[in-house]
Every structure is written in C-alpha cells, then in structure tokens.
C-alpha cells in the first residue's frame, strides 16, 4: 500500500523539474518538452485523487483525458510555430526571437 | 501430485488451474505462461519463414528450399539463423550507440508483448485485460518509435530517410486501423478480446465485412507487407532503416516483422473471425473432460494460418505501390471510408436496431456495409470517368504503378 502523499510528492518533483526546464532552457523545443513534463505531473495528481478520493466516479480520469488532448494540441501548434520561425529566422533559440523588441 | 489430474489439465489446456490447485504462487504461474507464450512464438516464426518461402516459391513456379533437412528443406530457416549467428556484428563508425543497440531489442519486445492479450482457446489467454484492444494499439505505436531509434542511431542518410518514410506510413495507416477497430468494439460493447470473441455468435466478418476489409488493408501496411513494403524498398532506399545492421541485430528486425504479421493474422481472427469458436465445438465435453479447449485451440491455429496464407498470397500477387499512392490511398480513401462506416454503424445500431434480434440485426448491418462500400466504389468510378485523378481501388493503383 502506498500513501497518497508519495504520489503527490512524486508529482510535485516532476513539476519542479519541468518548471526548471521551462525557465532555464534556451532552445524552444526543449522548453516545449519541459511543458510536457509539467502536464504529466498534473495528470498524476488528477489520477491520484481519482483513485484515493472518488474511485466510484470518473472525474479525475475524464479530466486527465482532456489534459491529454490539450497537451497534444499544444505540442502540435507549438512545434508548427517553431518550424515556421526556424524557416524565417533560422533560429530556435527563444532569446533570439525578439522581433517585437525596439 | 496426481498424475491423472495433471494429464487432465494438460488436455483441457488448463495447466494454470492445476498449478493453482496444488498451491503454486500466482507469479510463478504467470512466469510459466510467459515462457510458454514467448517460446511458442519463436518456434512458430522459424516455421513460418520456411512456410512463406515455400508457398511463394510454389506460386512463382519454383521449388523453394529443398536441401537442408530433408526433401522439403524443413530446416532451412534454422540453418539461416545459425549462419547469422556466426556473422560479424559490424558497428559502423559514428553511430549513436544507445539508440542503435536498443532498437533491435525493443522492436522484438513490442511485437512479443501484444501476444499477451490474444485468447488462444477458451480460458487460455495470457491476460484478459478489459482494455485489450487499446493495449494492442498502444504497444504497436511504441514499435513506431523503434524505427526512429534505428534510423537515427545508424548515422546514415538512407537509414534516416527510410525511418521517416516508415514512420509516415505507420502513423498514417494507424488511423483507419483504429477507426475500423471501433466498429467491432461498438458491436461487442467491450474492449476485452475475450468478450469480443464471446460476442461473435455470427462472426464480425459477416456482420461488418467492410470494417474487416479496412482493417486487413491497414494491417498489411502496418506490418510493412507487399504491396506496402516501402519500408524496405531495396531499389529505392536500400532496405530502409535497418541498413546498417548486421548479424543477429539485423535478424531481430526480420523476426519482429514475422511476429508482427503472425500477430496481425491472429488479431484478425480474434476480432473478425470469432477466434477459437467454430459451431460450438469449443464447448464440447466428453466424459467430464473439456476436450473443447483443445479443439478450440486447433480451430484457432487453423484460422490463423488461413489468414496468414492470404497475407502470403497477396505478397506473391501484388507489386509495390509508390509512396504518394500509398499515402493518398490512406488519407483520401481509407480514412474517410472508415469514418463513414463508423458513423453509419453507430447510428444504425442505436436508432434502428436497438431492440432487434441477433440475426436480423446482423443481416441489416451486413447490407448496410455492402451498400456503403458499393456507393463509395460507384462514386469513385464516376469521378474517374469525369477525367479527374482520383484514388482508384487498390488493385488498379498497384497495376498503374508498374
């Protein structure tokens, strides 16, 4: 038997790692990958609460599936943007994409 | 330890039940099951390679393997495997070591793992998951990744190009496969393979023939068989993503292909040909002995080999298509058709056939399927006659390619 808090701490750790990636990486695709880690951490929480609090209903599962859909849409659009930007600016480094500056 | 009980359990294909009754731990039983399943798969594949070469040879008016192991060359594939064992494992310079070495292992693991949810006989199944069909789809989507691993790891333009093509083909044909699989699940009201077999009083190939056809075509493409064997089109991309592999590492890709094809035959049998069922023979009891289990297993094996024979037959008959034809055929013909079919069956099932008895329901669904298929073909013919380039049925497509 595994206490609920183990899952929650595991998910918090995953979220923290993803957070670090989002803030520290320069490459836009690496940032996108870190965002996927964040969404996974959220999903672990949703499923944990489903199993420990409402196993007789499908609340947590349903929202986890919606998060899955959102993650897929986010990755699709994000990568399309990155490819487009790369084609126009020849760079995928987030800091160098400062078209709106000046 | 009662030897009679043991013999009885063996005849009923219920070794697990016997072991449980003498108090063996569940994980030991599971381990024995895994060992049986994996070993059986390997032995059958060795036999299959021989069978395929022999059948193809006959269809092309040749003799095929006839030297090693007697008149029929039965040991030919054993000899081939032994030869491969003594080949040098060349690791080209500049490979990306981890992906390069993981890919051949992972692809075999993925194609073995799907066997866990195939019901081989009544009560004989690795594990009766309630989401078995979904499990199969998930595992086969993992095997797509191995192509990228191999292609990237090889440090070779052709390998990477081949991997990209393979992935484009695999992901494309996964869509009609998923959608056509939804139809039998909808009719059986369950994702468990056992439930699907049990729901087939009338085999689903009779009830929804169009869905079976779409599944079969996408299974051909998923396993990279002719006419969709662009993955290893020797003349174009020199064998594709596994070009830089040699010896047993190469053989693993080969093995996975055969395992995958055999699995697709078995999966087709389970989903559309009512698995181990054959006019109630699987429930036969003789003198308190459930002999039907053994008979059901034989029925299952015979059905699987019949489907596999069709795979070989198609390989011997049809030439390879081009990649643009392959992708157009999928996205502009199979996917729309499977979606239309799914919607039609869903609406018919709920709105008109909710209270219908089994046989009228099956008849109506079959007629619906045939009408949908006929209308599609008719529409395509009209478009072709208008002089536009349209996607023609598969055979014409293949013929024009050459």
């Amino acid at each position: 038997m595994i206490p609920m808090s183990w899952y929650l701490i595991f998910s918090a750790a995953l979220f923290a790692i993803g957070l670090y990636g989002v803030m520290a990486r320069r490459n836009a695709i690496a940032i996108l990958m870190s965002v996927e880690l964040l969404l996974n951490a959220v999903n672990i929480n949703l499923v944990t609460f489903w199993r420990y609090r409402t196993p007789d209903r499908s609340v947590g599962l349903a929202w986890a599936v919606f998060v899955l859909a959102v993650a897929a849409a986010e990755a699709a659009v994000g990568l399309a943007l990155i490819i487009s930007v790369y084609r126009n600016r020849d760079s995928v480094i987030a800091e160098e994409l400062d078209l709106l500056r000046n | 330890m009662d030897i009679m009980e043991l013999l009885k359990s063996l005849l009923e294909l219920d070794l697990g039940g016997y072991l449980q009754s003498v108090g063996t731990a569940v994980w030991v039983i599971n381990l024995i099951g895994v060992l049986n399943l994996a070993t059986a798969c390997m032995i059958i594949v060795i036999f299959l390679i021989w069978l395929e070469r022999k059948v193809i040879a006959r269809m092309q008016d040749r003799i095929g393997p006839n030297r090693v192991g007697g008149k029929y060359g039965l040991l030919q594939s054993v000899a081939d495997a032994t030869k491969l064992l003594s080949k040098e494992l060349i690791t080209p310079a500049g490979v990306d070591r981890i992906p390069y070495n993981v890919a051949p292992v992972l692809i075999v693991v993925a194609s073995l793992l799907t066997w866990a949810v195939i019901p081989l006989a009544p009560g004989v199944i690795g594990v009766d998951l309630n989401i078995a069909v979904f499990f199969v789809l998930a595992i086969s989507s993992v095997s797509v990744v191995t192509f990228l691993l191999a292609g990237w790891g090889s440090n070779n333009k052709y390998a990477l190009l081949g991997a990209f093509r393979a992935v484009a083909q695999m992901v494309s044909y996964e869509v009609p496969m998923i959608v056509s699989l939804l139809v039998p699940i909808l009719l059986a009201r369950s994702m468990s393979t056992v439930d699907i077999v049990e729901a087939q009083g009338i085999p689903f190939i009779v009830v929804v023939p169009l869905s079976a056809l779409i599944f079969f075509i996408s299974a051909l493409a998923e396993t990279g068989r002719t006419p969709f064997d662009l993955l290893e089109a020797d003349s174009e991309i020199v064998a594709g993503f596994h070009i830089e592999y040699s010896g047993m590492k190469f053989a693993m890709f080969f093995l996975a292909e055969f395992l995958g094809t055999l699995f697709m035959s078995a999966f087709f049998v389970v989903i559309y040909l009512s698995g181990y069922r054959f006019f109630g023979v699987e429930e036969l009891m003789i003198g308190g002995l459930h002999i039907g289990a053994l008979l059901g297993f034989i029925v299952f094996v015979v059905k699987v080999f019949l489907v596999y024979f069709v795979f070989i037959w198609i390989r011997a008959t049809l030439p390879r298509v081009r990649i643009d034809q392959l992708l157009n055929f999928n996205w502009k013909f199979l996917v729309p058709l499977s979606l239309v079919l799914l919607l039609t069956v869903a609406v018919m099932d709920k709105l008109f056939l909710a209270d219908a008895a089994q046989i009228p329901k099956a008849a109506v669904l079959m007629v619906t399927n045939i009408v949908v298929g006929w209308v599609t073909v008719e529409l395509l013919r009209r478009r072709d006659n208008d002089g536009q380039t349209a996607v023609s049925p598969i055979t014409e497509e293949a013929v024009t390619a050459h």
């Binding site: 918090a12 790692i17 670090y20 803030m23 320069r26 499908s58 859909a69 849409a73 800091e95 | -």
Partner: protein, 185 residues
Amino acid sequence: MFGLEFDQIFFVLIAAVTLGFSVLVVTMRNLFHAALALMVAFLGVAVTYVTLGAGFLAMAQLLVYIGAISILIIFGIMMTRRIMSAEEEPFNGQAGLAAFTAVIFFAFTTYVFINYWPAVPAVSPLAMAPEVDPAMIDNSVVLLGQAFVNPNAYVLPFEVASVMLLAALVGSVFIAKPRIQEAEA
C-alpha cells in the same frame, strides 16, 4: 528492505527512474537524446498510472505521448537541425535562478502536503487507497465513456475538445506549410 512493502519498493524505483530521466530531459545538450529521455519519463508515468489502477489512461499515455507527441517532437528536432551543436550553451542566463525557484517550489509544496493537506480533516496525507472492488476499477472505463456523452457531465468539454483539435490542426497546418511565394523567392 527498510521496512518497505514490495509495491512501495516498486513505486520508489519507478519514481526514481522517471525523475532521473526527466532531469536528463532538461539538462541534456543533444536534443534528440533529450527526446529519448522524455519517452522513458512518459513510460514511467504510464507505469505509475497502472499502479493507480488507471490502465486505460496508461495505454492512452503510451498511444498519445510516446506514439504521437514524441514523434512530433522528434520530427520537429529533425526539421530545425540544431541538434548536434554540442558547443552551443543549453541554458540561458537565469539557470541558477530557475533552479532556485524549482527547489523552492518543491520544498513549499511538499511542506504543504505533509503539514496542512488536506483541508478535509478526516483524511490524512498518509491515507492509503480505499479498498474497492476490482470490478469497479475495471468498470471505470465504461463510466468514463458514459461521462463523456452524459449531458450532466462532460458533453460540453467533449465537444469543445474536438473543436480545439480542429483549430489546432488547421492552425498548425497553416503555419507549418511552406508558402508558395516563399518557395519561389
């Protein structure tokens, strides 16, 4: 071992592997290797779902994250080509600050979990999973299917999800497609 039960050891193992590979994801210079590490992390999360009894979601994780999103990411990496440039600095100027923030976040959340969670007083954070009929866990997939089309549950998000997918596909195809004038220029 350390007074842990078998499933606890298993959980710790899976959690360690997942976290280890996610650290690799955010630190590796070679983006392709980072994407591979990401796949292992996804796999670890899928196994976590299985230990929680959510087999369907675990398979959905394999199908969507490993089978689709990872492939998208790898395609994206291949198309933007800046992969083998090991000399390039992977981190920006605020890496130290980012690490600090992440650690603070983790420490704070864990502190809250252990001391103040949950708001419902009857449930301790060390609560075990409630004993339920395995059939109920199995049945959760059917419940999920019903909930998606139940007007009192998730019909709206369900339909909105399909509209979102439509928008995402149209948008990303429009963005990613090479413009014709661009090709001519």
